[in-house]
């Protein structure tokens, strides 16, 4: 006679693995796109800040406002209000595809601040030394600032991914699929406690893996401590 576990896997295994896959796609695709946009925004925020390499008060303030507004809106509100844009961008407002644009819009401002902060941690004299060598601003950014900030940026990636994982669960509420969707539909609406527990455990494992992986990478690439 098959055990409870095998029965559970037979019944829900496919559903759960599809959910996990959907979550991972939403998470990594939207975070990757958000990093492209957010890194550019973060670099501009850093460069245009007062006393930085290219102080531009107005641009810095306006961009800061835009980023703050992006971070103020609750994700569920953003998700709904962006639906017309999402529709025209990816042709649908549901499923994994339909939720990627709002995810990007809400993660990118978060990334911008993470990048800005990581860049600000680079010692001022290192940046000035690069400037005094006659490096142009793009070269300072790509050859000095970003490589120097990389360990900190990688630590930021873990924080961003875990925050974004929370958003993907909310996206499940509007039919985007993924583990959050399963937790709501089976665990919450149908009182299937087992499903609730399993999805939550899967999410906990995912968070642990993301955190540990980023920690290991950050330690590996950081040469500021002895022995590296």
């Amino acid at each position: 006679m098959p055990s409870d576990v095998t029965l559970f896997i037979e019944d829900y295994g496919e559903l759960l693995s599809q959910g996990l896959l959907d979550t991972l796609i939403m998470l990594f695709v939207s975070t990757a796109i958000a990093y492209v946009i957010g890194t550019a925004l973060g670099v501009i925020l850093y460069l245009t800040a007062p006393g930085s390499l290219r102080p531009m008060g107005v641009l810095n303030a306006v961009l800061g406002w835009v980023v703050n507004i992006g971070r103020s809106l609750p994700f569920i509100i953003l998700l709904i209000s962006l639906m017309p844009m999402t529709e025209s961008l990816v042709g649908t407002t549901s499923g994994v595809r339909g939720v990627i644009p709002p995810l990007v819009v809400s993660i990118a401002p978060f990334v911008a601040r993470m990048i800005e902060q990581s860049l600000a941690e680079v010692p001022r004299e290192s940046v000035e030394a690069a400037e005094a060598c006659g490096a142009s601003i793009p070269r300072i950014v790509f050859s000095a600032l970003l490589p120097e900030a990389l360990p900190s940026i990688v630590r930021g990636v873990s924080i961003t991914l875990i925050a974004a994982l929370g958003y993907t669960a909310i996206a499940g509420a509007v039919g985007a699929g993924g583990l959050g969707d399963i937790a709501i539909r089976y665990g919450y609406y149908r009182y299937e406690d087992q499903m609730m527990v399993v999805t939550v455990v899967l999410l906990i494992i995912l968070v642990q893996i993301i955190q540990s992986a980023c920690d290991v990478i950050a330690r590996k690439i950081d040469h500021r401590t002895l022995g590296n």
């Binding site: 290192s126 000035e128 690069a130 490096a135 500021r224």
Partner: protein, 249 residues
């Protein structure tokens, strides 16, 4: 030759904003080792940072070999900066790059890439500062004095005409300080590069400088040969720096 003419730097836009530099006029001959000395807040760092335009003077001019560089920007500014290297108090090395890559950075800054020729020149410079075997180490694996020697090698990478030393030995112990000062003197003798030394230590000035300028509250209060100023300091600031006053008075 660097001529600093009526240089004024104030922070803030108000007419009565405090002056970090107040009508400073100095000329620095080619091949000289010139000391600029003063207490903390006297404006000496601001002055040296105005020479390579890390800071823009509020008024006045910096004239290098007859060319007014004060208004330079863009590519012209960057190529000027390659003629004027700088050494910092806390070294300003890139922590995530190896020693060799740090020394090669000026080449990357200039052309966007580092050639094999650049690398062998960088290794020569590392050899000259006595750190050839540390080429693949990272700055965190080096002592402060060694890091400053790497910074000196980096400063020499583009064969500069001037080297600005902004408190280059202030973070170092006396033994490392002597190593760095001897190295700078030797480089000056060998290559004829002009060295401008910012310091609050008369010991540093006495050891390597030929001429000295004393700054106090943003003004030049005394200048001349080191021998003359040391023999007969006239300004209050110089007397304090030379410890010729009763400290407990």
């Amino acid at each position: 030759m660097i001529e600093i003419q009526h240089l004024t730097k104030s922070y803030g836009s108000a007419a009565d904003a405090p002056h970090a530099l107040d009508d400073v006029t100095i000329s620095i001959e080619d091949g000289d080792i010139m000391g600029i000395i003063g207490m903390s807040g006297a404006g000496k760092s601001t002055l040296v940072r105005c020479i390579n335009l890390l800071e823009r003077p509020t008024s006045g001019k910096v004239v290098v070999d007859g060319q007014d560089v004060t208004g330079l920007s863009g590519a012209a500014l960057r190529s000027y900066r390659r003629r004027v290297a700088m050494i910092f108090q806390s070294f300003g090395l890139l922590a995530q790059k190896t020693v060799l890559d740090n020394v090669c950075f000026p080449y990357r800054a200039a052309t966007g890439r580092v050639t094999a020729e650049n690398r062998s020149r960088a290794l020569e410079l590392l050899d000259m500062v006595g750190l050839a075997e540390k080429a693949t180490s990272y700055p965190s694996q080096l002592s402060g004095g060694q890091q400053q020697r790497v910074a000196i090698a980096r400063a020499l990478a583009c064969d500069p005409e001037y080297i600005l030393c902004d408190e280059a030995t202030s973070a170092l112990d006396p033994a490392s300080t002597n190593v760095i000062l001897k190295l700078l003197r030797e480089i000056n003798r060998k290559t004829g590069v002009t060295i401008i030394v910012i310091t609050h230590s008369m010991g540093v000035v006495e050891k390597i400088c030929r001429n000295v300028v004393v700054l106090d509250h943003g003004r030049v209060v005394e200048q001349g040969s080191v021998d003359a100023v040391f023999a007969n300091p006239t300004s209050d600031a110089a007397k304090v720096l030379l410890e010729r006053v009763d400290w407990d008075a």
